[in-house]
Amino acid sequence: MLLTKKQTGTAGAVTSPFIHSLRRGLSQALPTLDRRSFLRRSGLGVGVGLAASQLSLVKKAQAATGASLLGAGKVEVKRTVCTHCSVGCAVDAVVENGVWVRQEAVFDSPINLGAHCAKGAALREHGHGEYRLRYPMKLVKGKYERISWDTALTEISAKMLELRKASGPDSVYFIGSSKHNNEQAYLMRKFVSFWGTNNCDHQARICHSTTVAGVANTWGYGAMTNSYNDMQNSKVALYIGSNAAEAHPVSLLHMLHAKENGCKMIVVDPRFTRTAAKADEYVRIRSGTDIPFLFGLLYHIFKNGWEDKQYIHDRVYGMDAVKADVLAKWTPDKVEEACGVKEDQMFKVAKMLHDNNPGTIVWCMGQTQHTIGNAMVRASCILQLALGNVGKSGGGTNIFRGHDNVQGATDVGPNPDSLPGYYGLAEGSWKHFAKTWGVDFEWIKKQFASPAMMGKNGITVSRWIDGVLENNELIDQDSNLRGVFYWGHAPNSQTRGLDMKRAMDKLDLLVVVDPYPSATAAMAAMPGKAEDLNPKRAVYLLPAATQFETSGSCTASNRSLQWREKVIDPLWESRSDHMIMHQLAEKLGFAKELSKNYKMQKVKGLDEPVPEDILREINKCVWTIGYTGQSPERLKAHMKNMNVFDVKTLKAKGGKDKETGYDFTGDYFGLPWPCYGTPELKHPGSPNLYDTSKHVMDGGGNFRANFGVEREGKSLLAEDGSHSLGADITTGYPELDHILLKKLGWWDELSDDEKKAAEGKNWKTDSSGGMMRVFMKEHGCHPFGNAKARAVVWNFPDPIPQHREPLYGTRPDMAAKYPTHDDKKAFWRLPTLYKTVQDKNIADKAYEKFPLILTSGRLVEYEGGGEETRSNPWLAELQQEAFVEINPKTAADRGVRNGDRVWLLGATGARLNVQALVTERVDAGTVWMPFHFSGRWQGADLLAHYPKGAAPIVRGEAVNTATTYGYDSVTMMQETKTTICNIEKA
């Protein structure tokens, strides 16, 4: 056949001036050296191991039934929520004959308006799950072999009971998950309690634990005060230690919208991030010097009298002391010396915060992951208090949580120092839960090694390795840790990878419960030091289902709860986490107690606790943070009618649910906690915390009375006239209990049944919710009292936040001026070093061998430890190599060119083989690596150590293989954001 000549009708195309000018224009575009272009891309996935058969022109979606997926079969649309970050983007999953075939944007969602980042837009791949863990496996002679569920559960439980007999229940550690939904996270805490230990934790420890502690101790609750949406109302936004453009991309939708309405955006970061690229003002600070920066701003604010004096008088305790400290210590010269920012830029930023009102502050890991994280976050809170920005729409401290349900898991899940709802570990709390759980308190008590252990904070996930490796005499529990569950948690997001490998080898039992084998599987299987390996170690992998294979609620960062519908049945042999918990509990002998209040449903023929029933149980007992009003019915109605909620305020303008007749008027989307009282009270949720401009029954509030009534002669309660709108008590007051209610003369407004339940109780333990009903609905008062926020937190290591240098730093001169804390002997059951480590590093001149600050952060394409997202080909194709960002000067000094392989040398002796990305994002003294990679270990590919067919497509060095010791002085958060390293050409 001859080539056909082109149509004469389209003659002149080549000579069209239009095309010529386009071509000319584009050729003059600056050559780019962006992150993607320098990496190997496209073409055959070299070294990726993809079968050539997958390169058919357009891959056919696999249909389990063999039918074509064109809508001819039974089609259902399930509404769910992305399982990656805490923004909580809604998704409509289109399912045909049980196969997930399409994914549609939910424009109706007030939170994301249909928007997604790369991860959210790629969710449907979870329905393919090519590289998932498909069936239970056991490590046999260095290889993973398939076993049956029954064998797995029998062997694991037998081993657990054996360990319990020999070493007590505290010898097993449960690393739970921020990616569990609320029901699973809550069940996990219950499970662990019935096993008899507080040795449980989840990702929040290494993420925002310092935030929760610091912020809660400042004014009451440790959560994001406003919301992503509310940022549309801000006039200035200060991002410090947050790369929202990559970590919370859809939040930028709200921020950029605000920018278009005149909001000023300031980004403070050691690195010029993609978020900084959108800023009106970018400030580069030395990693770890947030307090000098924030207090440097406060210096100018106080100096110029820009603080909100009335607000401080009415609602803040201790600002005078802070002011004196700041004016003395953080003069412009000291600020410049510490964080590198010059006076004129400091003044400029301070003025921007003063001139533009209301202002909000955003922080993430940049502030939290330090030995002084708890102090840094408090400095941010103090700044906002000084400006009078807390408790206002457009203001607040907008802390962006990480994983999709880290907020929920923190609220009701496996925390070592609290029971669901931040109830502590005192006997009263345990009794409160024993009552709801329908079990005998004495029985729970007997499960524990001793009553003392029942009330003692457990070990944290950041230190489980020391629970294994540390000297037994120095640990504050009977035995070392001998068994560990990695239940929905990655290992490569914790520091000290070298030590972690040793700890994994020494264990008697290691169980991974995860939809993917995770790096734990490979790390456990790879050979380590012969002397570390416990010959009796048993390693199991149990395939968990993802959140798309079950239903349940999750809590976004703005505290809204969203209900996920089940999209598909669990793939292959995976089982939902709550099914696994129930089945394991059956083997361990407490399933009856665990699932007492839940109906069972059949999933693929097996019993699974009904998620709605678990949420109803939460509704019955978590009064403290108002998880009582969000019934499954209300949440489901919200999800089906997202369009009635306003985008700027999250408030429903009206509307009724077609099916149930539920009236939305007044509700805030997702009933953001606190949603006080019973569902019948119909509290609308609280979109912005501590907002005195609203009535408590409209989500209004004030600061919490949690720290006493008076201190050193000064009142800790709010001043006269400072109260939520319409409150009958127009001054400060303590938290609600039966005594207060009686004193006020409102006791008789309770019904007889309510009186019976409330007698002798406070608002947190009154199971009728009656006291709350009277206090809030009838009298407009806040159940947790009305107090001042604390600028001075006297129970913290540094009552006024102080700057201290990191344990591994490059400035011995600064460490001399701002040394770290003293060592702690027993802190969360373990000896924890500060001074010893810092002093030794200086004595050893570590800063000469390792003169570069190593910091790490996120990429938009991946999430957390990364094994899940690196197993998604659509995402993996975009970031195929682990890399380290190096400044051009630093690179030139070492003879490193862009794209070269280099060795990153950690202070612990670890060596990482990564690709060099030479860029001006980082300054000459800092290098940066993304932390999402794993599957390579000091130069070696770990592919052989994964179960066959279940390794992520992209593997790379984990930055945490080379990170170091250092823990927050209140929460044991790991110091990941500042350590030291060197780079050499490979």
Partner: protein, 74 residues
């Protein structure tokens, strides 16, 4: 014989000759507003075959889905 040869050569030569310019090339589509006929995957709010209805529906969809200043007015 000669005629047969002539006839054959004509036939053979005809096959070697230039074909007329074929200006069609690609098949073209049916109009997009005809729809796919698959109700389950089709967005509601317009009728198959109705060109203006389809166009207006898409305009509304673009405004609702992509104009956040309309969704969240100042």
């Amino acid at each position: 014989m000669k005629t047969a040869f002539l006839i054959c050569s004509v036939v053979v030569l005809a096959a070697c000759g230039e074909k007329p310019q074929d200006s069609l090339g690609a098949r073209t589509d049916k109009p997009v507003q005809n729809g796919t006929g698959v109700a389950a995957f089709t967005a509601p709010g317009w009728k198959a075959g109705d060109k203006d209805g389809w166009a207006n529906h898409l305009k509304a969809r673009a405004t609702y889905g992509m104009n956040d200043h309309v969704r969240a007015p100042q």
